[in-house]
Symmetry: C2
Subunit: 109 residues, 2 copies
Amino acid sequence: MVLFRRLLGEVLRARRLEQGRTLRQLCADARVSLGYMSEIERGQKEASSELLGSICAALDVPLSEILSEVSDAVALEEAAVALRLRPVELRPVPARSRQPDGGVVASAA
Amino acid sequence: MVLFRRLLGEVLRARRLEQGRTLRQLCADARVSLGYMSEIERGQKEASSELLGSICAALDVPLSEILSEVSDAVALEEAAVALRLRPVELRPVPARSRQPDGGVVASAA
């Protein structure tokens, strides 16, 4: 079963890393404990709607945008499950593997 | 603050009603108690990711589709909040007010 909290955690973590912020910095802004936030990012704890709102505010990203990204990630996993492939993981793409045309290559060989 | 669980509840309820199913029928399929499901639909309780998966399976709707609809509903509320308007409510559109071109009129006067 594709779990909402796991994909939500990955999307939130990716957003935080994009902003170059540490878990500690985000937690101070969102008024959530470091341990709890870490578990949310790893998909081990559910975030209440109020906390999710606080995290989005601390990230300065609309909740609708986060949910849209989670929806896309869930759709990819649903497709992967349908094809009996391994779950898709959201990973930041290293800058060096980006191509001038915006494309991405798996290796530079 | 726009609360995820409230919009999620509205989307789930709208989907169930579209299918002409009672709360009791859905609860039997999703293996959730009537009281709990009722609270989820009214946005009073958070649904765990596992339960959300079960409800989507019982509704035969991909989780990604539900999340996409919730994202759209949240975006509408965010816009309404930004404009200091009253919260938008998701209401089923009565069949008699649908127009042949797919449009909707507020009254038939």
